[in-house]
């Protein structure tokens, strides 16, 4: 039976009160979730500042979306593949991407966004939705290989307009690919509001048309996202096919550092979004349960600053790559004409 639930699952209210059923997560895991979310936010702010100072290139901040991403990744096993976008650094961080690699991405270093061996993160999607058929294919391949693995693909509300999204959904449905389509509906695709993107009342309901389940969750509630993703991954691992999760959240910052959101968003929106900030919510919850103190908070903030500082320094010390260094990655074997071009590149460089 196909189940689509648009009631918007919520476990934590914005004030941190428990309003749903608490998932089976111990205090250490809850604190880890919080630490990663704070680290992601600290990275985000530092990257924004560095961009403003002209020290790194274009950057797409994820502030406000930490719960949708970190909640989903906490439901994954480390060997399960994550398909990220340019706005997925909280998820990548949670899934094992080193912070310095996250800095290398806006620094436009070829290693930016490349996961080290053993970290199950696919290349960063820049073409909107183009990674979704890949995610469906990889998940389908895992099913063909009789594994019991789940896959998670991240994308925005805008991505649901692309043909690639619909084709991926259809293939995943037909071949029962063990994939969780995790749509972070942050309200905007650059300047285009969600209502202009689709005439559907929710994104989650699109799953019905492809023959599988969908659900709306409060994307600023890390526990709700965790729980919904866990259930979807359980079904995926059990051979029950894909799920579409619409995590309703809000992009607090600009689309990228090249964007000016005051051209299209009302300031009131931001005030409301700050009230429902996912990090604040988890902190209030932890404090309410005596799992977190002022002292721990201060220590964490200092620690996060230091990790981010050290990561940026490491990124800066990463040896630059030259154009010629990329030649071996065009094909497995370098064709003679390209080898000749490489000589010219290197000669011209010095």
């Amino acid at each position: 039976m196909i189940r689509v639930d648009v009631s918007r699952r919520q476990i934590l209210a914005p004030d941190g009160k428990l309003v749903g059923e608490m998932p089976a997560l111990g205090p250490d895991t809850l604190r880890d979730m919080y630490r990663i979310m704070v680290l992601a936010r600290t990275f985000d702010q530092r990257a924004l500042n560095l961009q403003r100072q002209g020290r790194i290139g274009t950057f797409a901040p994820a502030a406000g979306q930490e719960a949708s991403q970190v909640g989903a990744v906490f439901a994954m096993r480390r060997d399960e593949w994550l398909f990220p976008t340019y706005r997925s650094h909280p998820a990548m961080l949670a899934h094992g991407m080193p912070l310095d690699r996250l800095f290398l991405y806006p620094m436009a270093h070829p290693l930016g966004g490349v996961a080290p061996p053993g970290v199950a993160i696919y290349s960063v999607a820049i073409s909107i939705a183009a990674h979704l058929p890949h995610a469906a294919g990889a998940a389908w391949a895992s099913r063909i290989r009789r594994e019991s693995k789940g896959f998670v693909a991240l994308f925005g509300d805008g991505a649901t307009s692309e043909g690639d999204f619909h084709e991926a959904m259809n293939f995943a449905g037909v071949f029962r690919a063990p994939l969780v389509f995790l749509c972070e509906n942050n309200g905007w695709a650059i300047s285009v509001p969600r209502e202009h993107q689709t005439a559907s009342e929710t994104i989650a309901q699109k799953a019905v048309a492809y023959g599988f389940g969908g659900e709306v969750v409060d994307g600023n509630d890390v526990l709700a996202v965790y729980q919904a993703t866990s259930e979807a991954l359980e079904r995926a691992r059990a051979g029950e096919g894909p799920t579409l999760i619409e995590a309703q959240t809000y992009r607090l910052g600009p689309h990228t550092t090249a964007d000016d959101p005051t051209r299209y968003r009302k300031p009131e929106e931001l005030t409301e979004a700050e009230r429902i900030d996912p990090i604040l919510r988890l902190r209030l919850f932890l404090e309410g349960r005596d799992l977190w103190s002022e002292k721990e908070e201060a220590a964490l903030r200092a620690e996060a600053q230091e990790s981010v500082r050290a990561a940026y320094q490491k990124a800066q010390e990463t040896p630059p790559m030259a154009l010629g260094d990329l030649v071996p990655y065009v094909y497995a074997e370098v064709p003679p004409y390209l080898a000749a071009e490489r000589e010219e590149m290197n000669g011209w460089r010095v």
């Binding site: 436009a108 930016g112 909107i128 043909g163």
Partner: protein, 325 residues
Amino acid sequence: MARMTMIQAINQALAQAMEADDRVLVMGEDVGRNGGVFRATDKLYDRFGPERAIDTPLAEGGIVGTAIGMAVYGLRPVAEIQFMGFTYQAFSQLVAQAARIRYRSLGQYTCPLVVRAPYGGGVRALELHSDTLEARVLHTPGLKFVTPATPRDAKGLLLAAIDDPDPVIVAEPLRLYRSHREEVPEERYTVPIGKARLAREGSDVTLVAWGSQVPTALEAAEAAEADGVSVEVIDLRTIVPMDQEAILASVRKTHRVVIVQEAPVIGGVGAEIAALVSERAILSLEAPPLRVGGYDMPYPPSAIEEQYLPSPERVRQAIDRVLAF
């Protein structure tokens, strides 16, 4: 006349076309309320309303596909693709559809469509934001392709594209959007599609360039001049249909040609030009045609894009090689 940047000239052209003809509309991602991510459609939403400055869903195939339907049905859509690297998503509609509407129906249906897209590197953009695709269109009979190198041409070519009865891709060099200003006539005027521009007169070597590479070619020509080499620079302006006569006439005069393009060299527009002069002017040539372009690999991460893009120095080396041949 006012001094304008290329992006201002484009914006003025769109406003004048919409003012003059209510069949003209602009559509694409963020082109309405936001005025386009580069502001090409700035204020058109306020002036002409949401039905003529249309924010579409995020789907390039959908944008071009529906714009084709509008064009066939009598409107004059100007679709914007936010970056040329995302026209890949619309290639089926452009190459297999827009290019064949007239041909397939023996003229019963036509497709007066304009697709604008910024292209090219040098602005520190993310992956796929710098791709340069004229060669893929050159190989598609039925599509036209123009690319301005100056604000004045940007306005005139865009207005010519809007007037044109067939589908035209207007490729706008991103790096030149705000790089300099020049006097742009206030009135509505067109720059004919299919006509090259003599950007600099010379007698020893011909450089053929277009769009983003015209400034590179001019810079190389100037440097050569200082050493007593007289270089002619042709700004092609239109890739399809190409002004073959302008190229041939110049090569017959200078006897040497270097083609400068931003895209990878193999299978590029330069290859077509080299074939053209070999077929039609071989006896005028004192040296083989040479190409300077991007290397035959995908566009690199922007931290090292300067190593990839043609530079005046590389063009200068090619000039020396054809002279020394």
